[in-house]
Amino acid sequence: MSFARIAGRVRKGAPLAQADGLALFAHPDLMEVGSLANEARERRHGDRAYFNRNLHINPTNVCVSACRLCSFSRRRATDAGAFVLGVDEAVGKLRACLAAGQRPSEVHVVGGLHAGLPFDYFTSLVAGLKTTAPDITVKAFSAVEIFFFHRLYGMSIEEVLRRLMAAGLGALPGGGAEILSPRVRRLICPNKCGADEWLEVHRAAHRLGLPSNATMLYGTVETLGERVEHLLRLRELQSETGGFLAFVPLPFHPENTALAELPAPTAAESLRVLAVSRLLLPNVPHIKAYWVSLGLATAQTALWFGADDLDGTISEEKIYHQAGARTPEGLSADEIVRLIRAAGRVPVERDTFYALARPAAAKEAP
């Protein structure tokens, strides 16, 4: 289908098909694709660009999954560099953050698939974070971890989620989706839960009233068709549940991984992926340009290529930095505000649910 017809469909609000997605990836004019995505983005969000104050905690890097795409994990608890944070230690990171005067509205917790920890560890961790700061949303455990808990502890997915929610879990992060295709998962993360299972966890979470995000890891071995398929599967689940808050495409960082021979996706490709995502996912409210993985410059530019969110302050990012990310491990809210303003957008601080959105205060201007 021609670009003009696709643009027509987008403007009428008609959903795009697989072939349209492929055409958008193949369209020679990146600026045209970006412009169309920008139109869709501005229709929905105007000039607003969102960010939050958040804290990343990775409780463990011990992981049985041994994905080829990962440089963060250690196979065994006894391997060099392997760690497991005690519950107090993990909660201590939040306390330290509060003591330093930071005001995070969200703690983002993801870790390895550690077969030697009791389920209590995770519920205590969530409860510990929640009691330390009751106003903060604990967004924890990717679908891959939830599915692992379901298998390891012999509980249904719903049961796992209910118990974590009872401890204070407020949302699921979107990680571990990689590419929702059996072929790609066999090649890059054969021990992770399958595509259907990943979707099943999110479906279950949404049914229980637990919102979530969704990611896509691009730039490994997937075809463009598989990328489009991934987006369409997310769109389908979203039309069923409406539970996704944001979609977060993640460029693959090959350094220190078993796929180090692959070239990293370039900025132009990342901008296109963000733009196509905006166009193929009209029912997902937010498209996030995750600055840690994209780099500040590309993330900032992405605010004109379909993205409306830069993620947050983060404080201590570990996973991408193991894979050679050259971004800082954290940013101040002032720095994020400055980047957004410099891009010609209006910074809006949000919470996990984009509910308590408020314009950034003037004093945070550069």
Partner: protein, 634 residues
């Protein structure tokens, strides 16, 4: 000189008619000119023999005259792609031709067919024949080179037809210049250049009538002859055309067809800078689409875009403009080496953390051995050029540079892109010589082109604040003007982040555009943000990626007479550099060879060149290596 009539010899082909139109019809310079028509090669002879003062002559004839001639600025017969009237004809493909009969009428075409043949690995025997006999002589394995209006009819008669204009541009990436007005340096009186330019302007407006007048008697259709005058041929001698002509002279010299390779020098340009055309649309959107289509922006319009247009709108308009200027889907890059011969500097700009005061223990001046090692490495790694810049070191006089350049040129096949206006101005002061005298001596010693550094923001108020001892705006421009007049090409830069406002940015671009209208000597514009880390001067204003992209896009729209815009990945990072190729940039700059590469040098270099190519590809372009003229290198 002005007392008698100026004798003009022009080629008799259709493509020259727009140039001579005003004179021929007596519409300009009544009584000033005496004009006659002849075949191209004979036009050049007329000047050589003193029968004509000025001739519309082939570039090859200009080259053969060994620098004794001057060109009239702004006027040429050129093509960027198919020309239709310089054809290699044959019953068999080029590869199978044993002999090519050359058209005695045009020396340029003779050289061109040989350069292009060699590029294909072919060197058929050449014979020369009279213009009128070429078509009859083509048979079997004997091809023929035909030029001029006879091509329209002849092209239909042969199985194999090669358009040499198309061949040249597809291979080199630059326009081809067939002919330009040239004469002896003292041939023109004040006002003549303006009259010649006016004659062309009148002719351009009458192309339809000229095409009609030609079509009927020559039995070709009007559309073909009009398309020829409006699409195939163009009449501008701009920066790209100058580079194309210089590339032709250089390539001809390399294959031994020219003994010399003279610089392209000009009569003084009397034309006033082209004003911005009337604005058709009052809205910002309208302004952007007009700019994207190539309408010249006024200063106020530039300020409005700089202040108010959105990032995406600027980018899209700039990308569209870039697409018009560079329709081949190619983005270029160069392999060169940055050599800073000294860090001693008395200019001591506030923003600079490289310089050391003369006498400081950390001062260095590169010795010949050190320099030779760097140059050897550059050559080994496929480098074509060195960017040779330093501080302004009062210990180093003109003879230091002359000796060094002679040494470099005698031992290494590298172009010297060196000495920014500030360095040249200080040399002139130190030696008590004029700026052109310094440049002429440097050129004689081997200087090839001048980098556009030290422009920062071309505004004296800002310069006094950030670099009080550096040359003024006027001097910076004057050095560039003199260099261009002497046939050197240069780049131009802009550094932002010094608290400049839109009027300063657009003012900077405007000054460059005005000079470019006069000299056509700038090959490219490059901008980047002030790198404040470690500097005494605090950063002022936004220097984030999006501001850079806005600047780049604005420059692409405003600098309508600059053929190339480099992205600055070295300062802005590869991601921004790559995205910059979609915001008006068409060149990825330099794969700079690391300063202290040793054993792994090959690997380092290879990786960075391949990374550059990957960046270019993912931005949707084919990568091509180039030299300083933006000529594609095989």
């Amino acid at each position: 000189m002005s007392a008698r009539r100026l004798r003009l010899a022009a080629v008799s082909f259709l493509n020259a008619r727009p140039i001579t139109h005003g004179i021929e019809r007596g519409l300009v310079g009544k009584g000033r000119f005496e004009l006659w028509f002849d075949l191209p090669a004979r036009c050049a002879e007329a000047v050589a023999e003193g029968e004509a003062d000025l001739a519309l002559m082939p570039v090859a004839s200009y080259a053969a005259a060994r620098g004794e001639l001057r060109l009239v600025p702004g006027i040429a017969i050129a093509s960027r792609g198919p020309v239709r009237t310089v054809l290699l004809l044959g019953d068999v493909p080029w590869e199978e031709m044993e002999t090519i009969v050359l058209d005695a009428a045009s020396r340029t075409s003779q050289v061109l067919v040989q350069i292009l043949g060699r590029a294909r690995g072919l060197a058929p025997r050449c014979e020369s024949a009279e213009h009128d006999r070429i078509v009859d002589l083509v048979r079997g394995r004997r091809g023929g080179l035909l030029i001029g209006d006879a091509c329209f009819a002849a092209s239909r008669r042969f199985a194999h037809v090669y358009d040499l204009g198309a061949e040249w541009t597809a291979r080199v990436g630059l326009p081809f210049v067939y002919a330009a007005w040239a004469g002896r340096p003292d041939a023109l009186a004040p006002g003549d250049v303006a009259l010649l330019q006016e004659s062309l302007a009148l002719g351009l407006a009458e192309r339809e009538a000229i095409a009609r007048g030609f079509a009927e008697p020559n039995r070709i259709d009007i559309e073909t002859s009009l398309r020829y005058l409006t699409r195939n041929i163009h009449y501008e001698l701009g920066a790209s055309e100058l580079c194309g002509a210089a590339a032709f002279v250089e390539r001809g010299h390399q294959v031994g067809l020219f003994g010399e390779k003279p610089a392209l020098r000009f009569y003084a340009n009397e034309a006033r800078p082209r004003p911005a055309a009337a604005r058709l649309s009052p809205s910002l959107d309208g302004l952007l689409s007009e700019a994207a289509a190539g309408r010249r922006l006024s200063f106020d319009e530039g300020v409005a875009l700089c202040a108010s247009a959105s990032l995406h709108d600027l980018g899209q308009a700039a990308d569209a403009r870039r697409g018009h200027l560079h329709p081949h889907g190619v983005a270029t890059y160069i392999i060169d080496r940055n050599i800073n011969y000294t860090n001693a500097c008395t200019t001591a700009c506030h923003f600079c953390n490289f310089h050391r005061s003369p006498g400081d223990a950390r001062v260095y001046v590169l010795g010949e051995d050190e320099l030779a090692a760097k140059l050897r490495e550059t050559v080994d790694l496929g480098g074509l050029q060195v960017l040779f810049q330093g501080g302004v070191n009062p210990d180093l006089g003109l003879t230091y540079f002359e000796d060094l350049f002679r040494f470099m040129k005698s031992s290494f096949p590298l172009a010297i892109h060196g000495l920014s206006p500030e360095e040249i101005r200080r040399l002139a002061e130190r030696e008590d010589l004029s700026i052109p005298a310094v440049i002429e001596r440097l050129v004689a010693a081997g200087l090839d082109s001048i980098p556009g550094g030290g422009a920062e923001i071309l505004d004296d108020e800002i310069r006094r604040r950030i670099s009080p001892r550096k040359c003024s705006v006027g001097t910076w421009l004057e050095v560039m003007r003199e260099a261009h007049r002497l046939g050197l090409r240069s780049t131009a830069t802009m550094v932002f982040g010094f608290g400049e406002e839109p009027r300063h940015v657009v003012g900077h671009l405007d000054k460059l555009r005005v000079l470019q209208d006069e000299t056509a000597g700038f090959t490219a514009f490059i901008c980047w943000s002030f790198q404040a880390e470690g500097s005494r001067l605090p950063l002022q204003g936004d220097t984030s990626a999006t501001r850079y992209l806005r600047m780049l896009a604005l420059a692409r729209l405003y600098l309508d007479n600059f053929p190339n815009l480099q992205v600055s990945w070295v300062t802005m990072g590869p991601a921004v550099g790559q995205v910059g190729l979609r915001f008006g940039g068409n060149d990825f700059g330099s794969a700079m060879i690391e300063e202290n590469v040793v054993a792994q040098a090959g690997a380092v270099f290879k990786l960075s060149a391949s990374e550059i190519e990957a960046c270019i590809r993912w931005a949707g372009f084919s990568p091509r290596r180039r030299n300083m003229r933006y000529e594609w290198i095989e």
